[in-house]
């Protein structure tokens, strides 16, 4: 077991493209760290540099106290789970799992003992003498996990290990991975593009975009205090709604209504020009059907009337879509790029209309095409600076 440290690590490809830019990250011994971001953000490259499969252009990578920049993968004492599992097709499950022990000269009895132990944990005992071709996707995935855990390495590296499974199995295996990590208490770096996986699995989550770390923190902090537009838009599903806004005194002018800001939030925003165009971010669950609201809750925000365009019923809750109109124009390339990377289809403040999603309680009686009275919770509104995308409301 060991601590893993990225110290100014940079990866530049021969064609000049920088996949990872000056990355600084410290992963504690036994910690479960998630690297998350859209495809092409450099998260896999970062992981492969830890594995030794990718050269490090600049900076220092340490496993434990040792600098491993120049070490071959086999000397790093790490185990890796590949996205496509990379099982050896000509070996049985037993041979696959025992391969690394065999290479390390462990004697046969010990190999068998450890493989069988791992197989028991992973529920593979009956399949030990089968070849990977005869296993289901979920079983192959477990063999790949097994190959890592028999080693008892100083760190696990997982490169989107669940992305080839179907949705249901993925959720199942997610729990399994968390259980194994907890049980072995081994430092783990886990790469994924799925923010739900990142939120549920990690002790801490590092959000990356275009080769740069955006924010590293616990899932709860990432969710409630995103440092910039990108993190705000990337974490959470459905995504946070963005809309143009201005702040005047302790009032926020939103396209649908003016709301009074709670004092602590107003303090965090600090001094600001009345006419400055800003972006407000409101999570879908910070809306509610006004009819279902207790009177005490009403004080935290404001209600407004709008026409519901579309209702998506999820059973446990309802997603209600409505449109906001704004004549305020926000033009910024930064913003557009961020929106694209975060997978937000609506560029906020592009002028004109924007789609907003509200997550309402299942008891809500709102209906498609009809006017409804909705409540917005002002205490959770986030305010962003459109110029650089940074959050004005995050605690620093």
């Amino acid at each position: 077991m060991a601590k893993i440290t990225f110290d100014g690590v940079t990866k530049q490809y021969p064609d000049g493209y920088e996949a990872v830019k000056d990355m600084n990250l410290e992963i504690d011994d036994g910690e479960f760290m998630i690297l998350v971001g859209p495809s092409g953000c450099g998260k896999s490259t970062a992981l492969r540099m830890v594995a030794g499969l990718e050269d490090i252009t600049d900076g220092e990578l340490r496993i434990g106290e040792e600098v491993v920049n120049q070490k071959a993968p086999r000397d790093r004492d790490i185990a890796m789970v590949f996205q496509n599992y990379a099982l050896y097709p000509h070996m049985t499950v037993r041979e696959n799992m025992g391969f690394s022990l065999q290479l390390h000269g462990v004697d046969k009895e010990e190999i068998n003992k450890r493989v069988e132990e791992a197989a028991k944990i992973l529920d593979l005992s009956e399949h030990l003498d089968r070849k990977p071709a005869n296993l289901s996707g979920g079983q192959r995935q477990r063999v790949a996990m097994g190959r890592a855990i028999v080693r008892d390495p100083s760190a696990y590296l997982m490169d989107e290990p669940l992305s080839n499974l179907d949705a249901k199995l993925r959720v199942q295996m997610r729990t399994e991975v968390a259980r194994i990590q907890h049980r072995t208490d081994t430092t783990t770096i886990y790469v994924t593009h799925d923010q739900a996986e990142a939120m549920t699995l990690g002790d801490r989550v590092a959000v990356m975009r275009a080769g740069k770390l955006q924010q590293v923190d616990t899932p709860m902090v990432l969710y409630s205090q995103p440092k910039n537009l990108f993190v705000a838009g990337f974490i959470g599903s459905p995504s946070m709604n963005f809309m143009p806004a201005t702040v005047e005194g302790d009032t926020i002018h939103l396209p649908m209504i003016d709301v009074k800001v709670p004092r602590d939030l107003r303090q965090r925003i600090g001094e600001i020009d009345d006419s400055k165009n800003l972006i407000a971010g409101i999570r879908p669950e910070n809306f509610e059907d006004a009819a279902l609201l207790g009177s005490d809750a009403r004080d935290r925000g404001a209600t407004f009337k709008t026409t519901i365009d579309l209702i998506e019923s999820m059973g446990s809750e309802i997603y209600a879509h409505f449109t906001v109109q704004s004549d305020q124009r926000l033009e910024s390339d930064e913003l557009r790029e961020l929106a694209e990377d975060a997978g937000i289809t609506e560029v906020p403040g592009g002028g004109g209309e924007g789609d907003v999603v509200a997550r309402l309680s299942a008891e809500s009686q709102v209906a498609q095409g009809q006017e409804a009275e909705l409540f917005v919770d002002a205490s959770h509104i986030q305010i962003f600076d459109p110029e650089d995308g940074s959050s004005l409301t995050a605690e620093r």
């Binding site: 496509n84 990379a86 097709p89």
Partner: protein
């Protein structure tokens, strides 16, 4: 997929026609080879049985020498081609280097070259430098055609082996050579067999080079030697002996393909990655 009875009948007939078309000449050749000398021209499939023709050719020094030459030359050409091509193909499949496209298209261009167009100049050159009527004199021109073939086949095959397997082996603690030996080689075996068989068949079947660049039993291979067969007497046609010799050179190829076709088709890589 479901086929209607009519569709299936249609396919069966088509396959039967193709099979007959392909196999009748072979069967005719086999039948001729077992006929006694006086029945050779009776135009019947089965008329008498005799192994005289086989006795004749196996007592014939020309044929035996040719057989040894054929086996030796084809095997050596195959082994050298595959060894060189495997390394070249592995590099082409795994590395990015300047001139990669040139090498591949160059190899293809060489393979497309009609052999007949270089035979004349080779004849002169070989006589000049003393390669005429020697084993290397045939092995070298064979390799110019078998190497591109093998490189093409093998590099396509290596490209199919997921790179992750090698990386997984490295992370698992293997040295590059261990990864190659324990993971890549076992997986590449079917591809190597495929390429080896193709190369061997090319060398084994060649007539143009063998006929032009040899003159004696020193290096003459079976396809060329067949043309020099004579009957027991000046007035006897050597058809029976030629047929027997043809059967003898065809059988090894058939046996080889039958033995290895399962390895070729096995597709050992199935299940390596997500399926």
């Amino acid at each position: 997929m479901m086929h209607s009875a009519r569709e299936r009948a249609g396919w069966s007939i088509a396959i039967l026609v193709v099979l007959l078309y392909a196999l009748i000449p072979v069967a005719w050749m086999a039948s001729l080879s077992f006929k006694p000398a006086d029945k050779l021209t009776d135009r019947k499939f089965f008329s008498g049985f005799s192994t005289d023709n086989y006795k004749t050719i196996f007592e014939d020094d020309t044929f035996l020498a040719a057989l040894v030459n054929s086996i030796g030359i084809a095997l050596i050409a195959t082994i050298i081609s595959i060894a060189l091509a495997a390394m070249a193909a592995y590099a082409l499949a795994r590395l990015n280097f300047a001139g990669k496209a040139v090498i591949l298209s160059g190899a293809l261009a060489v393979a497309m070259f009609p052999p007949i167009s270089i035979v004349g100049s080779l004849f002169d050159m070989w006589r000049e430098i003393g390669l005429y009527d020697t084993w290397p004199g045939l092995i070298i021109p064979y390799m110019t055609f078998t190497l591109p073939l093998a490189i093409y086949t093998l590099s396509a095959f290596f490209r199919e082996i997921p790179w992750e397997l090698e990386q997984a082996a490295q992370v698992d603690g293997a040295t590059p050579f261990q990864a190659f030996r324990k993971v890549i080689v076992p997986l590449a075996a079917p591809g190597v067999f495929t390429a080896a068989i193709l190369v061997f068949i090319f060398a084994w079947n060649d007539f143009i080079f063998a006929n032009t660049l040899t003159s004696t039993n020193e290096a003459r291979t079976v396809p060329a030697a067949l043309a020099f067969f004579t009957g027991g007497s000046q007035f006897e046609q050597p058809i029976g002996a030629i047929s027997a010799a043809a059967v003898v050179v065809t059988v090894p190829i058939i046996v080889m393909v039958l033995i290895f076709q399962r390895r070729i088709v096995a597709g050992l890589t199935a299940g390596a990655v997500k399926g």
